[in-house]
Symmetry: C2
Subunit: 522 residues, 2 copies
C-alpha cells in the first residue's frame, strides 16, 4: 500500500506489524487516546520485618529472578551512549543462559554494542526496536537482514507513545543507574558514571512488567535526587562499571571549524533572523553535530547583539546551550540527554537545567509535548527530496547510518524546521527525486540551507512572502537540486532486494517507510 509520502509498504509488513500506514503528519493529532499500563507484582510485606531485599548479587541471578523467557522483550536506555556496558553485559548473560528470540527494545544503540552482532547471528536476538543508532557493525548487521524480524525504528516521542499504548510491551527493563540506593531510587547526576538525565528510561520504569536497576554506585538510602523512584523498581544489581563516561561525548559536540559549514551556519542564523524567529521568548533546539552547534553559536551572537532573551532550549544538551543558559540567553533548558560533561554538571547543579521525560519532550499522544512549543528546530539529514521529505536513517548506498531520534518529532512541532547540510556530500547531491528512506515528512520541513543556497518549502507561503526581498540566496528546491547535481560527481542508485530489514514508524505509530536489504552486503 502506498502511503501519504508515496512509499510502497508491503502488505506482509502491514499484516505482521498490525500498524496502519502513514496518512499525514497531523492526521492523528487532536484524537482520543487511551493509555494502558502493564502488570506488576506488589511487594510482599510482613509485620515487623524488613521487606525482601531488592539487591541481587549478579546480572545472571537477576535474569533468573525475573523469569525471563524465550520471546520476551528487554529494554535499555542510551544515556551512557557509546560508553555503555549494560546492554552487552545483560545480553551476553542472556545468551549464556541459552535464551533465544529476545526482542531488544533500546532507546538507542551505538558502535560499542557490536557484541550484539554474534547474538543476532545465533538467534538470541531476533528483533530490535530503537530510536537512535550510530553507524557501525550493528547498523550493518541490521542492514544485511541478520535479524529474524525487521527492526523497528521509532522516534524519541514515538517510543513512549508505543509503550503507553501497549504496542511496545516491555517484559524486563534494565536501567543503567549512575546513582542508586538499595530500594531502586536512582538518578543519573552523581557517580563515577554520571550521565546526566535518565529521561528515555522513565517510560520503561513506569510500564515494564519488571524493572532492574543496574548500578556501579550503590548509595545509602535515600538516593538524592530521586529521578526514578523505588516503587517502580523490582531489583537492584551492583556491578563494577555500567559504562565508560568518556563514551558519552561521542561524535561532534563542538561547533564546526570547517569554513563552508561555518558559512552555512551563519546563513541559517541570518535566515532565521530575517524570518522573524530570533525574538524575545524564542525557543530553539539543535542536534549535537558541528554545523548545528555552529548555528546555535551564530543565533546566540544575534541574540546578544540585539539583547534578545529566549525562553528555552531543549533536546540533547551540549555545553553550548549550558553557556547560553548561564549567560541568560535562555530562561531554561529542558533536557532528554546530556551530550557532554558540561551538560551533566549543569543538570546536576543548575535548577534551570531540567530533566524531562521523553513523553514531555515529544510524545504526540499527550496533552501537549514540548516540541509543540519549539520555535526553531535545526535538523540534519542524509538526503532530502523535492517534496522536502527527509532521510536520516540510511545512506544513499542503503546502509543504515542512524535512526529517527527526535527528527520527525521536532519537525512536526517546531514553528520553523530548518535542514542545515552541505548540498554536496561525499561527492553526491543530497537532494534527490526520492530519498532512500523517508523518516520525516516534507510537510513538516520548512527550509533547507546549504552552501549553495536556500530553499523554502512552497507550503510555507508566509515565509516565501516574508523573505521575498531578502538578499539571501533563496531559490526553489528544483534550482538548488540542479546546482547540487552539477557540482556532484557521483550518483548512487543501489539495488535492493525485497527483504524488509527495518520498519520506520512515524511518531504516531504509522508506517512511514521500510528499509530494504541492499543487494550489496555490508
Amino acid at each position: 500500500m502506498v502511503n501519504a509520502v508515496g512509499r510502497d509498504i508491503p502488505e506482509k509488513i502491514i499484516l505482521e506489524t498490525e500498524k496502519p500506514v502513514f496518512e499525514g503528519a497531523y492526521k492523528n493529532s487532536g484524537h482520543d487516546v487511551k493509555k494502558i499500563s502493564s502488570g506488576l507484582r506488589s511487594a510482599k510485606v510482613k509485620k515487623g520485618q524488613l521487606p525482601e531485599s531488592k539487591l541481587v548479587a549478579s546480572i545472571d541471578e537477576v535474569i533468573d529472578r525475573t523469569g525471563l523467557k524465550d520471546g520476551m522483550t528487554v529494554s535499555f536506555h542510551h544515556h551512557m551512549r557509546n560508553g555503555d556496558y549494560v546492554v552487552n553485559t545483560v545480553m551476553e548473560a542472556i545468551a549464556r543462559k541459552g535464551l533465544k528470540d529476545i526482542h531488544v527494545a533500546a532507546s538507542g544503540l551505538f558502535k560499542c554494542h557490536e557484541p550484539l552482532v554474534p547474538l543476532i547471528r545465533d538467534g538470541v536476538i531476533t528483533k530490535i526496536t530503537l530510536s537512535t543508532i550510530s553507524p557501525g557493525p550493528l547498523a550493518k548487521a541490521i542492514t544485511n537482514g541478520y535479524l529474524k524480524h525487521p527492526a523497528v525504528f521509532m522516534s524519541h516521542g514515538g517510543r513512549p507513545r508505543a509503550i503507553e499504548s501497549g504496542e511496545l510491551h516491555i517484559d524486563v527493563a534494565f536501567i543503567a543507574a549512575p546513582c542508586c540506593d538499595a530500594e531502586g531510587n536512582m538518578n543519573g547526576a552523581y557517580g563515577k558514571s554520571a550521565c546526566g538525565v535518565l529521561s528515555y528510561a522513565y517510560a520503561d520504569a513506569e510500564y515494564a512488567d519488571q524493572v532492574v536497576a543496574v548500578t556501579d554506585n550503590l548509595v545509602s538510602f535515600p538516593a538524592s535526587p530521586v529521578e526514578i523512584s523505588q516503587e517502580k523498581v523490582d531489583y537492584v544489581v551492583e556491578v563494577e562499571a555500567i559504562g565508560d563516561p568518556e563514551g558519552i561525548s561521542f561524535g561532534p559536540t563542538k561547533p564546526t571549524e570547517d569554513s563552508v559549514n561555518l558559512k552555512i551556519a551563519e546563513t541559517t542564523a541570518q535566515f532565521l533572523d530575517e524570518a522573524g524567529y530570533i525574538r524575545d521568548g524564542m525557543s530553539m533546539q539543535t542536534g549535537a553535530g558541528g554545523t548545528s552547534i555552529a548555528v546555535a553559536a551564530a543565533v546566540g551572537n544575534i541574540m546578544r547583539a540585539r539583547n534578545v532573551k529566549g525562553s528555552f532550549a531543549s533536546g540533547g544538551i551540549t555545553s553550548y546551550f549550558v553557556d547560553m543558559l548561564k549567560e541568560g540567553l535562555f530562561r531554561g533548558l529542558l533536557d532528554v540527554q546530556c551530550f557532554d560533561s558540561a551538560a551533566i554538571e549543569s543538570y546536576r547543579d543548575n535548577p534551570k537545567h531540567m530533566a524531562m521525560s521523553a513523553s514531555q519532550y515529544a510524545n504526540p499522544n499527550t496533552k501537549g509535548a514540548l516540541v509543540n512549543l519549539l520555535d526553531i528546530m535545526i535538523l540534519g539529514a542524509t538526503e532530502m527530496d523535492i517534496d522536502f521529505n527527509l532521510n536520516v536513517v540510511t545512506g544513499s548506498n542503503g546502509v543504515i547510518l542512524s535512526s529517527s531520534g527526535g527528527n520527525n518529532d521536532c519537525a512536526a512541532g517546531a514553528k520553523i524546521a530548518v535542514v542545515v547540510t552541505n548540498l554536496v556530500k561525499r561527492d553526491m547531491c543530497i537532494l534527490r527525486d526520492n530519498v532512500t528512506t523517508v523518516v520525516t515528512p516534507g510537510e513538516t520541513v520548512d527550509v533547507l540551507v546549504t552552501e549553495y543556497g536556500i530553499a523554502i518549502n512552497p507550503l510555507r507561503t508566509d515565509l516565501l512572502e516574508k523573505l521575498k526581498r531578502s538578499k539571501l540566496p533563496i531559490m526553489t528546491i528544483h534550482e538548488l537540486k540542479a546546482i547540487g547535481e552539477s557540482k556532484a560527481a557521483k550518483v548512487m542508485n543501489p539495488e535492493f532486494t525485497d527483504k524488509v530489514v527495518a520498519v520506520v514508524e512515524y511518531r504516531d505509530g504509522t508506517i512511514i517507510d521500510v528499509v530494504r536489504k541492499p543487494v550489496q552486503e555490508f
Copy 2:
C-alpha cells in the same frame, strides 16, 4: 458480612461498592496487580502555528471547556490545607451552572471547606471520597448522612492505588498550583501561595481524563522545577489567589508543652531505645500533633547523645524534621505534605528534602513503597480496642473527626508502630472493647504508650521478650484498660441508625468498616 476485624459490613454496601471486605492487613501483598489508566485527548498540532493556548480566562469557562456533566467526578489535592480556596471556588462555580450529583474526590478537606455543606444539601455534591478531613461542619454533615451516597475514606496510599486500578476514575482534576507556566508545568515551591510539595496530586495529574491547573502565580515558560509536567495538563486558569498560606500550618505543629504529654513522649523514646530501634540507619515518621513532635524531639535527644545517624524521616514534614535533617540526624526527608513554612522552604532549597508521590510513599500495589522501609511510626488514635485495632475516624460519640490519612499505611509497613496518646481523654478511657470505627487493624499496631503505662501487642513476642526486664511500666492491654476505666468518669455508647454515611476502605481497597449515622444529629 463480618470481616477480619469483626466488623459487620452490610451486604447492601458490599453490593453497591463492589468491594470485598477486609481479610487481613497483608492478605493482598505480594499479588499480581494491573495498573490501568484513563483516556486523554492528544494536543492538536498544525505546522508553523502555536498550539492552542491552554490558558482559560476563568473557572467558569474551564468547567464549560471540560464538558463536565452531572454525575462526574472532580478531584482536588489538599496541600493548601485549611487555607485552600480552590475547592470552594470550583464547586461553587459548578453549583452555579446547575450541575448535580458531582463526586468530589479530594485527597483531603478541611474546616475551610464548610461552603460545601449547602452544596451537599442541594444535591450538587452527592458523594465524597477523601483521605483526610478535619473536624468541623463538613465532617458533621457527612456524619449526619446529608450525602446521597456514603462517603469513601481511603488511606493516603489507598487513594493512588484506587486511581491506578480504575476504582476511582477522575473525570476532571483541579490542581491548585502555586507556580505554573502557561503550558501547565507546575510546582508547589514558589509563589505567594507556596505550599511545598504537590505529592497527592501526582496520581490525579497522571490518570484524570482532564487536568486543570489553577494558579495565582503564572510564570514565564518554563516553570522551574517541574513537579507536574505539561503533557499531563489540559488547561491553565489564573485566579487571584488559590489560598491563604497561613492556613497551611493549621493545628498543632509544635512539641506539646503539656507535662503529661511530654512524659508520654519521653517514655515512648525510652521504649523505642530499649527495644533497639534507635540505631544507625533508623527511619522514622510522626504526625504533626504536639505529642508526636515531642516524641521526635525526645528520639532526637537520644540520637544526639549516642551519635546515632538515621536514614530518613518521612510523611508530612514539620520544622522539627527539617532541623533534624540540617543537623545530620537523618540523611534525607521524603515528603508528601509540608506542614509549615520551614518545611516549604527546606523542600525548595535543600536537595536532601525530597518530594515523593503518594504511590512512592504508601501505595500497597507497587514494587515497594517507602512505608515498608519505615522503622518507627508514631501513630495517633481517638480510640483503641483490646485487639489493638485503631479508630482515627470518629469520636466516641460517633461524629467524624478525621480520616485514615497515612495511619494504616504506616502501621502496616513500619517495623514498630507505636500509638502515643493519653489513656484518658475528655474524661473517657480511649481503650475499649470495641472501637467505634476500625481504620487500622490491630495486627499492624505494636505498642500503646500512655501516661499510665505501656501495652505491647501479644503478637509481638519478640518485643515482649526483649523488654521483659525493662523498668518501664509495661503491662497487658487489659491491665491498662482497667486503669483507664478506673480513672475515667464517662463512658459513651452512642446509638446509631442503620444508615451508612461513610465506607472506610483499608489501604488495599477492602472494606474495613463503615460509619453509621448516630441517632443524635450533629
